[in-house]
């Protein structure tokens, strides 16, 4: 198995664990946004490394980043 895929997987699992622990420790709005931010980092990790979008045209990279930004901004405004 490719080393960079295993490293990506380990990082994704660690981030999942950290986000889950944060939700147990605290429910402040800043923590909520941090949990969402960490989840979107995982989202980018899967799309860029597992789905190989790092090899795609800039249009697709920008589209993914735009989606993530709009989602996080909307959540920030609402929460």
């Amino acid at each position: 198995m490719k080393k960079h895929l295993v490293v990506s997987w380990i990082v994704l699992i660690v981030i999942t664990g950290v986000a889950s622990l944060l939700s147990i420790l605290d429910v402040e709005s800043s923590t909520i946004l941090l949990i969402l931010f960490l989840s979107l980092v995982k989202f980018l990790g899967v799309s860029f490394y597992f789905m190989e979008m790092n090899r795609s045209n800039s249009f697709w990279k920008v589209a993914i980043l735009l989606f993530v930004t709009i989602f996080l901004l909307s959540a920030t405004i609402i929460l």
Binding site: M1, L5, V46, M51, R55, S74
Partner: protein, 189 residues
């Protein structure tokens, strides 16, 4: 389409342009639903908080790990296909399917406990979102499993890289949707 496809071309992202149009439509649909859920929680924060406490985040955590592991094997299977390691390719697709099935089993156990406790569709706004979003996601996982099973049962000579990448992209889309669902439903309210 063969191994020489240039993914830097705007029309040929890994998985194909039509698959990526589907992926973005799905992400936008789920994204709007989740933003709506956050917006609705503002009018009834106590109900959303108490309802969230009725969910067991351990199920959500396990399923996140399971789907990410499945995604790892799927990504690895694409790599093995490109290396012409057909045996390893099928083995890794098999593991991706196995972890997909484990996801469904964990979801079934969770659904069973919720139905047993009377936390069904219509119980309150939080659980309406919970059931509609997670069931819609489960349908995607089932469709993904059918696609992967078709891939593994196909004759080796008939499979092309484009088919493998498109199937992998659909499967990873299930990961992406779950990565949006997990924090909003299980963690933040």
């Amino acid at each position: 389409m063969d191994k020489s496809v240039n993914h830097k071309n705007i029309y040929y992202p890994p998985g194909g342009i039509l698959m990526w149009i589907i992926i973005f439509l799905e992400l936008i649909t789920f994204g709007i639903a989740l933003i709506s859920m956050m917006y609705m929680s503002k009018s009834d924060p106590i109900v959303f908080h108490e309802s969230r406490l009725l969910l067991d985040p351990v199920y959500g955590f396990i399923n996140t790990v399971v789907l990410l592991t499945s995604g790892l094997f799927m990504a690895s299977s694409v790599y093995e296909f490109k290396q012409s390691n057909k045996v390893k390719f099928k083995k890794h697709v098999g593991f991706a399917i196995l972890f997909g099935i484990i996801f469904l089993v964990v979801k079934f156990i969770e659904y069973n406990s919720k139905i047993g406790a009377g936390l069904i569709l219509g119980y309150n706004t939080f659980f309406n979102f919970y059931w509609l979003l997670t069931l819609f996601h489960v349908i995607h996982v089932v469709v993904g499993l059918v696609i992967l099973t078709t891939l593994i049962l196909s004759s080796e000579n008939k499979i092309e890289l484009a088919d493998v990448e498109a199937s992998a992209s659909f499967w990873h889309m299930c990961d992406l949707i779950w990565l949006l669902l997990f924090p909003v439903i299980y963690l933040i309210f």
